[in-house]
Symmetry: C2
Subunit: 341 residues, 2 copies
DNA sequence: GCCTGAATGACAACCGGTTGCCGACTTCTA
DNA sequence: TAGAAGTCGGCAACCGGTTGTCATTCAGGC
């Protein structure tokens, strides 16, 4: 059967096949498909019919090569398996797809070198990139942003368009919450020293604490993984505080486990506030009070900002900075301070 | 400073730039870089030096267009935010990167149509694809596999290379575990009807139950999300069983929450076994007994099988099927049956 | 009936590589 | 020293589109 078909070898159809079928030049086919106004409506309809008949799909490589636009956007995250990024990735994916772009997702393995080389490579194979929690130095990031359209997420560098999640201001909410429960000695369980948001959060927190006349101390740094939770828990207990803010939910969840092993009750003996409201924060034991942020939305916003850079027409004034609010979600891991004595 | 540089407009260097710099033809540069034996060692070294000086990086689009190889592999998952896929994705990513390939990750949104169109598109822009938990019909999948190198994960279709996770045999372990705890009435909380593994698991389970003389009943189907857990929990309670196997951990975790709301204790009043051992299964409340499988390894194996298809040399006999074992991990969600009366 | 201009479509160069083919130069052999 | 064999590098076509330029056609205006 199949062999009796006239034209179709089972190779994807090209514009040349369509051109031959319609008796026009390949360039006409190209125009009919990309700038329909440039071609007579009758010709165009013939071409469209032929394209449909041949199941024509444009070759994105060729398109990219000749037009310089790849239709792809790189999304760089430090660690795919960190649940924090799930919703972010989903947000970017949905928004990119809606705009007809392909998402190139890369795990940079928490490494600035991998990140740098990925950026360099993507410079040719993507139209722009979105970098979450970049490990690059300020100048390296600025440099990258100068070379190609780029939006950073959770990284604040002058001159680099960014979507920021305003956890610093969330920390004062969290602190107020703890104060309202009677806590006066609070620890901050810091994330990696390379994390800008950890730094900014600490700054905001210590400032807020000073204003309110409570004591905060900083512990760490700890890697943002559940495995670090044990060490963090021990450090917190040893420090003598009654409550703590963890850099993120992974650490907080790890702490929960360690504290249970040690027979320290949460929240009776220790209150814990996490950050990010990741998958799992609502069903761990006890459920985690945490600073929730609209991560998926952050992803979408980042995409919109990038697309605005890519085609400056299409309205939508090009914001170069967007701050997502954070709010405290109180669950079971925070409670009144234990009355001494 | 930068403006005083002679050649470099700030455009990525091409082989033509190198050729001009070395006084050779572009084709020679191409050969020096891709088939080094084909070119004199002295010429080659000059070219390599020039390439380094110019920070030359090959343009992958152009490479793909002319050679037909893209250096990319598509990885399709039904839902990126399902934690089950995290480790899978990480496994494929690591293995692909090690082999010098780029991973194109796509979320097919649980839709066979999206999946089909993605496959069609990837046919040109990737050298091969890995499809996890395909929603395609058997014939569609077979057809896709005929058109391009493809490896399926968790999908068993004759003629389609696959990595299978042997949960069916895991179910009898789980059943034995429950029987050893005294349970005789057990429910299977089924996943989507489109899921082949749900079907196979049910088949294996009902067979094992018959052999052992215990009663199993099937409930569902339920969507593989925590949100479905509530309905599943209610159905299980209503069915009068004392233990159940859930299609996956997401449903099981959702059930845990619902049961707690209803004041039904796990495991005293109801034992639950999940499947997949996803992120969160170890810290939910109570920690979930579950069928654990080496998902990351499954991803790696899938990549190896695909690469074996791509370059049939390089040894490593092309297996077309690989089965990953499953084992039961017992945690807190299963316990002795409650003595009636 | 001629001129102007818009509409239309063909031609060809180009994007950045790869690769088949061939000629020139070396080197080895007889 | 001539001829054969092998090395090495250049030419040019090609991958599948895009796009600037230009010739042709046709309609309308005078």
């Amino acid at each position: 059967m199949a062999t009796t078909q006239p034209a179709a070898v089972d190779r994807p159809a090209t514009i040349h096949d369509i051109a031959a079928l319609c008796g026009v030049a390949a360039s006409t086919v190209s125009r009919a498909l990309s700038t329909p106004d440039r071609v007579n409506i009758r010709t165009r309809q013939r071409i469209e019919a032929a394209a449909a008949r041949l199941h024509y799909t444009p070759n994105s490589q060729a398109k990219a090569l000749s037009s310089g636009r790849t239709g792809a956007v790189g999304v760089l995250v430090p660690d795919i398996t960190n649940p924090f990024y799930f919703d972010l990735i989903r947000g970017t994916q949905l928004q990119l797809k809606a705009a007809g772009y392909t998402q190139l997702l890369v795990d940079t393995e928490e490494s600035d070198e991998v990140e740098a080389s990925t950026v360099e490579q993507l410079r040719k194979s993507a139209d722009g990139i979105i970098v979450a929690a970049s490990r690059l130095s300020d100048e390296a990031l600025l440099n990258a942003a100068a070379k190609m359209p780029l939006v950073a997420i959770n990284r604040d560098v002058a001159g680099v368009p960014a979507v920021l999640i305003d956890t610093p201001s969330g920390t004062s909410q969290a602190l107020d919450h703890l104060i309202s429960l009677g806590h006066t000695r609070v620890a901050y369980v810091a994330g990696p020293t390379t994390s800008q948001s950890s730094e900014r959060r600490w700054t905001a927190l210590s400032l807020a604490a000073e204003e309110r006349g409570v004591e905060v101390r900083r512990l760490g740094p700890f890697a943002p993984k559940t495995q670090s939770g044990a060490a963090a828990a021990d450090a917190v207990v040893h420090s003598g505080v009654t409550a703590c803010l963890a850099f993120n939910d992974l650490i907080a969840i790890g702490m929960l486990q360690r504290l249970r092993e040690r027979g320290i009750r949460v929240p009776q003996d220790m209150s814990i506030v996490g950050c990010d409201d990741i998958f799992g924060a609502d069903f761990c034991n006890p459920p985690l009070s945490t600073m929730a942020s609209p991560i998926e939305q952050a992803g979408r916003v980042a995409v919109s900002m990038l697309l605005a850079q890519l085609n400056p027409f299409a309205g939508g004034g090009t914001r170069s900075r967007s701050v997502m609010p954070t709010h405290l979600t109180v669950r079971g891991s925070t409670g009144p301070v234990r009355q001494p004595g």
